[in-house]
Assembly symmetry: D2
Homo-oligomer: 162 residues x 4
């Protein structure tokens, strides 16, 4: 809203970062303090099936809500969402893309919780961090996904034998 002498605080301090075109945008979402959260809610180890199904349900809702997401891959309490190379989602503004994705994912996680844990009330608010990364071509995006997949196996082994 304009015409205030205070409005300079937006113009002179608040800067939009736009992500460069022709890059695949990845948003990776990661549970914050989920080790503690999973103990508090008595998740089974190494992987609680209902917790994984809830994560997958959130990802499914993301794909429906944001059709520019063309691929999603999850492991444990993290999920990566790949936007198509040419997406003009929020004009590729980084803060918008990051915050909206993390917020929507979180919102669905809490709303759908009771569908997967009908006898296990939420004891504290689950929340996630996120980051946005750009990959310039199909090779680097493929290697990104391979990296998350390798990490998945390592995490599972670590969790199984510790």
């Amino acid at each position: 809203m304009a015409n205030s002498k205070y409005e300079y605080v937006k113009r002179e301090f608040e800067f939009q970062r736009h992500l460069p075109a022709s890059n695949w945008i990845v948003v990776r979402i990661d549970g914050c303090h989920f080790h503690r959260f999973s103990e508090l809610h008595a998740f089974e180890k190494p992987n609680d099936e209902n917790a994984l199904r809830l994560m997958n349900a959130c990802a499914t809702h993301m794909l429906e809500k944001f059709p520019d997401i063309v691929f999603a891959y999850g492991v444990s309490d993290e999920y990566s969402f790949v936007f198509r190379e040419k997406t003009e989602f929020y004009k590729r503004r980084e803060s918008k893309i990051l915050s909206l994705c993390v917020s929507y994912f979180t919102s669905v996680y809490v709303m759908k919780w009771k569908d997967f844990f009908p006898n296990n009330d939420l004891k504290e608010p689950p929340y996630f961090d996120g980051r946005v990364v750009c990959y310039p071509n199909i090779n680097t995006i493929r290697d990104y996904l391979a990296w998350r997949q390798v990490d998945c196996k390592l995490l599972e082994l670590k969790s199984r034998f510790s």
Copy 2:
């Protein structure tokens, strides 16, 4: 997790931005498509008291969860959180601060919904966008808050007479 030939995708593409020291960090959170959301849930105009009380409850939880927040100010479906000048919250990493704040706020909003709207089920997931801005001194942070307050009055007038 290290030692994978794919790990370069993190090192060469994923960059941390740290916010400069001695600046007040503001995270502003804003309801996304809340005009539609408020109609869908039959919020009273211009300001639904329960909706405002829910926003305030979320802000209260934010202050308890993140003690480096020293001030919060909200209007309608937005809230600004001011971190103390010297905060080392997540080493002042921008993506961490933005995503965790927006995610936690969203999570509390959904969890507490039924406390304020016991007879009004959530029909779709509410979600918020967010941004991070740095203000270098007490004058600019005060003007930031004045700007939001002026906007609040304008929004109310607009809403009342339209």
Copy 3:
């Protein structure tokens, strides 16, 4: 140099930006106030041959000095330098790349001036601005060069008929 209580001014305020891998890095250099500079030194219009030859000599020195530059294209008082996709020049640090390129170009311009203008002393210091842009693939880098070439023709027409 370490161990000073003042050193925090570097750690907490000075941030390195690294350019993302697998992108072609372009540094474009542009004469600052060269309209005035060319009048002051009585350049011929629309294109002073010696001035263009001096620009080309600078570009040649750039290519010899920085072998990671794989292509250079100039028009009037600007020159674009394209670094190879995989360059690790100064670890792809943006400020280093920008400042070193602009500084070296300027230095050669002044040193070589008398070779091209033996009877025309420098009346004031010529100087250039610069910018760094990343292009993620061969199509966008080709279109970048096409853009500069179209601009070149427009500039020449404008200069010829005005």
Copy 4:
């Protein structure tokens, strides 16, 4: 220049970064490979008086050319330039400020060389790197200058006893 189908390469890839208001902007310029350069031109150790006087002459020209610079401090082959807090020099665009300062400094260095080294021709082009840092208040800018001054003494001691 507009109206070309190639112009998207600017709009979608070339982003301006503006430095936040109410911060003191520092541009620090540093000789690149000046150890080698000073040997090549037989500078006296630890400090060649003519070389220092040439650096100071460049700084003086900077202050005359860019009146928004309010303070300059140099040691050996580096110089820091502090712009006044409220400067609107090139709308606080980072690339413009960095490249123009480094280029102008370099240009004067080469032009004035023969005034300080009349019998010592330039054997290769001297060039400088640069960086831009923002300091939010008078305390941090004072500590920045103290940091450079401490470094100056350490450099001199190191150079004297090695």
